[in-house]
């Protein structure tokens, strides 16, 4: 049983560490950059200064009474205390965001990114959130799942006038719940969410109950319809999305989640896209502990390997990181773990390709048959073939043993005995002897058992 004091000081340590980690994660992400639209081969330039979204800095060195969450490739929004009220400043604005090296997208985000910065508060806090609109059209912000006065609900036209471009509105309410929530527009909602306006709103409990969370992650899956070669999501698309992201990044642009062996880890998921996302993680049992309705009673926690997140909901799961190694964390709708691909390409699987490349290659310079043995062969060629501007291959990722052949809603969760203090990537897992699948030179004879 850990004393409250130890817990608080540990929390502060973690807070400091987690804050550092959060900042590191943020700097891993290449902020709205002015990357050129050359093909996917060029590595991203060193992090440039982002074009100036206004930032409200946290004044004073408050000790945080909670383990701050880590928003991979993102950050938490700093706040200031003003007469006992926690004040935040959100700025809704167009952003050019790099989804992965080689792909930059014209999104609408908050404070320089999509999703917007995570708002963290504590049950009981009185919060004041200023919202400045720098979008080309009016907006509003709705606090999804938060119990508050009707007039603070953020539904444009119904509970408030719209926030016109250039205007700043202020929302104020007192938190009387804790859990995993979201914030998003409620004005031209379909379009503004399709363009990327959304963010986590985490309300920490005033009094912790249950096991200590050592590491707390926020992942926001989202879907986009971006014509290959273009850079702007098409908000009119209802079903045919082609780009799938975690926290506004697509694999291999997603930052890995790093955990120490033995830690209790919580992962919070939110979904404002047009379909559900069954998020799967390997190597562990995931216990579903919370929704955007609030914490699930412990006796009602249920185990999953894949946590389904319907649109308009959040889910949080917890596990103990007791299995060291490199694990994948991804949406199990397989197309969501791919980058852009054609869904109407003719199926050449299994055809006899003899002579085709010669004949057609003589008529079309550079032609090469694709997909006759599957799509893996394509990904091997994709690296050195001419590609489409601002588009990265559908399958990417180089692992220690070869191509990983993934994209989209895919990231890694690395569990190590020790992690560097500065949050640096520990590299690939070194598998202990005897714990790796290996090739058998002479397969044994099963005597007809097959």
């Amino acid at each position: 049983m850990i004393s409250r004091r130890t817990m608080m000081s540990r929390a502060a340590l973690f807070a400091g560490g987690a804050l550092v980690a959060a900042r590191e994660a943020a700097s891993q992400e290449h902020p709205p950059s002015h990357q050129g639209h050359e093909g996917h081969a060029a590595p991203p330039p060193a992090a440039e200064a982002p074009p100036a979204p206004a930032r409200v800095r946290k004044a004073g060195g408050e000790r945080l009474p909670y383990t701050p969450v880590i928003t991979p490739n993102g950050r938490s929004l700093p706040f200031r205390m003003n007469g006992g009220v926690k004040e935040f400043h959100l700025i809704a604005e167009p952003v050019k965001q790099e989804f992965a090296p080689g792909m930059t997208v014209n999104v609408w985000g908050y404070n320089g990114g999509t999703p917007g910065p995570t708002l963290e508060m504590v049950e009981g806090d009185q919060v004041r959130i200023y919202v400045t609109n720098r979008l080309p059209e009016a907006t509003s912000v709705h606090w999804h799942g938060i119990l508050l006065p009707s007039g603070m609900d953020g539904v444009a036209g119904l509970t408030q006038p719209r926030i016109e471009p250039g205007e700043t509105f202020v929302y104020e309410f007192t938190l009387r719940q804790h859990g995993t929530y979201m914030y998003h527009p409620h004005s031209d909602e379909m379009l503004q969410m399709a363009l990327g306006l959304m963010g986590f709103l985490i309300v920490h409990p005033k009094k912790r109950s249950g096991p200590v969370i050592d590491r707390d992650f926020c992942l926001f899956p989202h879907m986009w319809a971006i014509p290959p070669g273009a850079a702007t999501p098409d908000p009119a698309v209802m079903l045919d999305f082609n780009i799938f992201s975690f926290n506004g990044r697509i694999y291999p642009g997603t930052a890995p989640l790093l955990c120490k062996l033995g830690e209790r880890v919580r992962v919070r998921l939110a979904n404002l896209s047009m379909t559900s996302h069954p998020i799967h993680m390997h190597g562990h049992v995931l216990w579903v502990v919370e929704t955007d309705g609030g914490p699930i009673p412990r006796s009602a926690w249920w185990p999953e390997t894949t946590v389904n997140v319907p649109p308009g909901t959040t889910r949080a799961f917890e596990f103990v990181a007791d299995n060291p190694g490199d694990w994948t964390l991804h949406c199990h709708k397989t197309h969501h773990a791919m980058n852009a691909m054609g869904h109407d390409v003719p199926n050449l699987l299994g055809i006899d390709t003899k002579g085709i490349d010669e004949k057609l290659g003589g008529l079309i310079d550079g032609y090469m048959t694709m997909g006759s043995t599957g799509m893996s062969e394509h990904s091997a060629h994709a690296a050195h073939m001419k590609g489409v501007e601002n588009t990265i291959p559908m399958m990417m990722g180089d692992g220690p043993f070869g191509p990983i052949e993934m994209g989209g809603m895919f990231t890694l969760l690395k569990i190590r005995k020790d992690l560097a203090k500065d949050g640096a990537d520990p590299g690939w897992y070194e598998h202990p002897a005897g714990t790796m699948a290996k090739k058998v030179e002479n397969p044994p004879d099963f005597g007809g058992l097959e």
Partner: protein, 458 residues
């Protein structure tokens, strides 16, 4: 009858002969002047094989021209040597030259002799006479002048015929080049559709597509083949059309055409003064002017002689009577314009002169209009050809390259890639048609101008 009477007759005859003038029947100098004119005006080399040596030289020239691929210039050279209509037209020069010579001759004198015997013996009567048509001789110089004008008009029309033959040859070459280039493109299109059908067949073999999908692809491939076959027929027709211009036969029929279009000249021809230039230098206009002049002079001649006797025959005759008496003296026969004072023939000539004037005016208007139209067509074709070369074709190539990139990333499939490439090839076909139109417009403008284009280089 002998003696001094005949001597006088003989003297008169030889005088007549001398007065006949010596216009030659050889058209060579006439052709030489035409050749020099044409070389300077149009840059084309006319030649006329008039004897076996000349024919052999022409044959050798043709053979060496045909030995390598023909382009427009070489085809024109061949046509000038072998086009039968043109060669027949050249022979007209000989006809015209002979007619000039004929016009220079005066009418032959007439010689008469009769011998009569008195019945019952007692002697013979002998008559001899010699006469020449005097008016014919007096008018010969003027008649000769008219014939000379007529010959000049013929020379000009022959020069025009050479230019027309050259222009028609250029048009036939351009048509053939376009269809030959189109054939190459249609072969590519057929091959692309055949490749698509082959891939569809392999998909079908692997169980990936249904019968109808395969049938659709094979149908497209077959239709491409039909288009190719039809174009091959068209090409053979275009070849024959050029062959008819060239006038070749035997082994020479196997001539080959250069497929590549010539470089368009960098210099753009200015439209200023083209109409005036055409009016000044076109051979058929000059011929029409000569024709008008001819009618005018004929009319003046007719008017000047309308009240003169139509015929004036002078001569000498001698008679020896049966009793030995000799009578000798001059003769004079006059044909008097009493019943026919030439009014009708003058009226006819006057009408013909007015008609010739109107025709000349019409030809001038038509010349100017032809020049305007041909220049406009040339300028438009040039702009379109440049646009295809500089904008359309590069854009098409860009689309194909981009589609290949989409294909490389499995964003689009092979059939879309094939369609993009086919579209590019169709654009090339369109560009070839514009190129043909350009060279045809150029030939037409040269013909409308009556000479090579000013300032521009071939």
């Amino acid at each position: 009858m002998h003696g001094p009477a005949f001597a006088r007759v003989a003297a008169l005859a030889s005088l007549a002969l001398l007065g006949a003038g010596c216009a030659s029947v050889d058209p060579q100098p006439l052709f030489d002047s035409l050749r020099v004119d044409l070389a300077g005006r149009s840059g084309i080399e006319a030649s006329w094989a008039r004897d076996p040596a000349g024919a052999a030289a022409a044959e050798e020239q043709i053979r060496s021209l045909v030995a390598t691929e023909l382009d427009a210039d070489r085809a024109v050279s061949v046509a000038l040597l072998a086009n039968r209509e043109l060669l027949a037209g050249l022979e007209e020069l000989g006809i015209g030259q002979a007619e000039l010579a004929q016009a220079s001759r005066i009418a032959n004198p007439s010689l008469g002799y009769s011998r009569q015997r008195l019945a019952g013996g007692g002697g013979t009567k002998v008559e001899a006479s010699f006469a020449i048509e005097l008016l014919d001789g007096l008018l010969a110089p003027r008649r000769r002048r008219l014939a000379a004008i007529e010959l000049e008009a013929l020379r000009l029309r022959t020069a025009r015929l050479l230019q027309t033959t050259a222009a028609d040859t250029r048009v036939a070459v351009a048509n053939l080049q376009e269809v030959e280039n189109r054939l190459e493109a249609l072969v590519l299109l057929r091959d692309l559709d055949a490749s698509a059908a082959e891939i569809a067949k392999r998909q079908h073999d692997a169980g990936n597509v249904a019968d109808r999908e395969l049938a659709r692809h094979e149908l497209r491939a077959n239709e491409s083949q039909v288009a190719l076959t039809k174009a091959r027929l068209e090409a053979r027709g275009a070849r024959e059309a050029l062959q008819r211009q060239l006038g070749l036969s035997g082994p020479d029929l196997a001539w080959k055409l250069a497929k590549a279009w010539p470089e368009r000249s960098a210099v753009e021809i200015s439209g200023d003064g083209l109409e005036r230039l055409a009016e000044e230098q076109r051979y058929d206009l000059a011929a029409a002017r000569a024709g008008l002049d001819l009618v005018g002079q004929a009319l003046a001649l007719r008017k000047g002689t309308r009240f003169l006797p139509i015929g004036i025959e002078v001569g000498v005759s001698t008679e020896k009577e049966p009793d030995g008496a000799r009578l000798t003296g001059p003769t004079l026969v006059l044909e008097l314009p009493i019943f026919d004072t030439g009014k009708a023939s003058i009226a006819k000539l006057e009408a013909e002169e007015r008609k010739a004037r109107r025709q000349l005016e019409g030809l001038v208007l038509e010349t100017r209009s032809q020049v305007r139209e041909a220049f406009d067509a040339l300028r438009a074709a040039r702009q379109l050809a440049d646009f295809h070369r500089d904008v359309l074709l590069p854009q098409q190539a860009f689309v194909v390259d981009q589609t290949l990139r989409h294909h490389n990333m499995m964003l689009e499939g092979v059939y879309e890639l094939i369609e993009a490439r086919k579209e590019e090839i169709h654009a090339r076909i369109a560009a070839g048609e514009i190129e043909r139109d350009y060279w045809i417009a150029r030939a037409r403008l040269e013909l409308a101008l009556g000479g090579r284009l000013p300032g521009g280089t071939r």
